[in-house]
Symmetry: C2
Subunit: 192 residues, 2 copies
DNA sequence: GCATTATAACTAATGACATTAGTTTTGGCA
DNA sequence: TGCCAAAACTAATGTCATTAGTTATAATGC
C-alpha cells in the first residue's frame, strides 16, 4: 500500500482526460480510480465525491478558457479581436470536449472560485466590446449574443448537430460578420 | 399482477414529465417504473433499455418543436416570421426543459425517425429563410447561425448562465435584430 | 534515531441502478 | 373453452457512489 502522492490537481487533470476521451458522463470515480491505480474510496481524500469533482472541472475549464481567449485577443481590437476570440473559443471546445461539457453543466451551488472565474470571462468580453461604443445595456445584450452563438455552435457541433457538408468554421465566420455588421449598423435602441 | 396496459407512448409521456420536473439525468428506469406503478424490468416490454427511451425522447422533442414553431410562423414572413419562430422555440425550451435536454444529447446512432424529424425542422428553417434571397450556401450558414443562437440561449438559460439583471428576451430580440440587419446589409459573399 | 500523529491509502459493506433470465398471469382469439 | 403471445413479475448479476472503519506510511516533534 504505497502512498501514491495524489493531490486534487492531479485528480483534476486525469478527470479532464477521461472526460475528453469518453465524454463527461463516462467520468466516474471508478474510472478515475482505475486510471490513477488506486481504489475509488481513496479519491475521497482529495475530492468530496463526484459532484465536487465535476464542480472543480467546471472551474478548471473556465480558467483555461479565459487563458486561451485572453491570449487570442492580444494585440487586436474590434472585429478582429472578436473573430480571433471566437476562433479560439471554438478550437478550445473542440480540443477539450469533455472539459467543455463541464463548463455549462454548472451545478446550481455556486462557490467563490466559480464566480470569480466567470467574472473574469465576462470582463474579457466587456473589454473587447468597449471599442464598439454601445451603451451599457446593449453591450450586455451583445455579449449574451456572442456567448450564446459560441456556445450554440460548440454544443451543436459536439453533439453532431452539423451534418450538412459545409464547413462549420465558414458558418461561424459568416454569422459573426453578419452579427457584427448589424451591431455597427444599428447603434440605436431597439425600435418598437 | 394486473396488466397495466402500458405502451411505448405512455412511457414516453411519463418519461418526459420526469425529465421536465427533475432533469434528464434524473430520468431513470427505476423512477419511471415507480411513476407508472410497475417494476422496472416490465418497462423492457415497451422500450429497449434506457438508451432507447432517451432516443425516443429526442424524436418526441423534435416533433413537438416542429409542431410548435410551425404554428408560430403561420401567416408571417421575413423578420416577423423569424422573431416569432425564435420566441416559440425559446418558450418551448423553457416550458419543457427536460425534454429539450434530450434534443441535443443526440445519440450517435441515427435511425429513420430521428433523421426525418430533423429534416422537417430543417425544412421549416429553409422555407422561412426563402424570402431573404440568400444563395443556397449562405442560407445554410444563416440557418446554422439561427440554430446556434437559439440553442445557445436556451441551453445557457437552462443552466443558469444569465445571472445579470437583464431580461433574456430583450437580449434575444436585440441580438436577432442585429443579426437580421447584418443579413440584409451584407448579401454579398464573405470578403477575405 | 525514535515515538507520535495526521494522512493517504486500504477493505468491507450498503444501497441505487440497469439489465438479463426465467416464471406467472392474463386477455384475446380460434 | 382452451391456447398462446404479451405483459407483468421475481431473482440475480454487475457497476456505481458513498460511508465506516482499518492499516500503513510519511512527516513532525523530541
Amino acid at each position: 500500500m504505497a502512498k501514491m502522492g495524489l493531490d486534487r490537481h492531479t485528480l483534476l487533470v486525469a478527470a479532464a482526460e477521461i472526460a475528453d476521451e469518453s465524454g463527461l458522463d463516462s467520468l466516474t470515480l471508478a474510472a478515475l480510480a482505475q486510471k490513477l491505480k488506486v481504489r475509488s474510496p481513496s479519491l475521497y481524500n482529495h475530492v468530496n465525491g463526484l459532484p465536487d469533482l465535476r464542480a472543480a472541472l467546471t472551474v478548471h475549464c473556465i480558467r483555461l478558457l479565459v487563458e486561451t481567449t485572453r491570449d487570442a485577443v492580444i494585440g487586436k481590437t474590434g472585429d478582429d479581436a472578436i473573430l480571433s476570440l471566437c476562433g479560439a473559443y471554438l478550437r478550445f471546445a473542440r480540443s477539450r470536449p469533455g472539459l467543455y461539457e463541464a463548463f455549462y453543466k454548472v451545478n446550481t451551488q455556486r462557490h467563490e472560485e466559480l464566480e470569480s472565474a466567470k467574472q473574469e470571462l465576462l470582463n474579457l468580453f466587456l473589454r473587447i466590446m468597449e471599442p464598439y461604443g454601445l451603451g451599457e445595456t446593449e453591450t450586455l445584450h451583445a455579449i449574451r449574443g456572442l456567448r450564446s452563438l459560441l456556445h450554440g455552435f460548440a454544443s451543436l457541433e459536439q453533439h453532431g448537430g452539423f451534418q450538412m457538408d459545409l464547413k462549420v468554421d465558414e458558418s461561424v465566420e459568416y454569422v459573426l460578420r453578419a452579427f457584427l455588421e448589424g451591431l455597427h449598423t444599428s447603434k440605436k435602441p431597439i425600435h418598437k
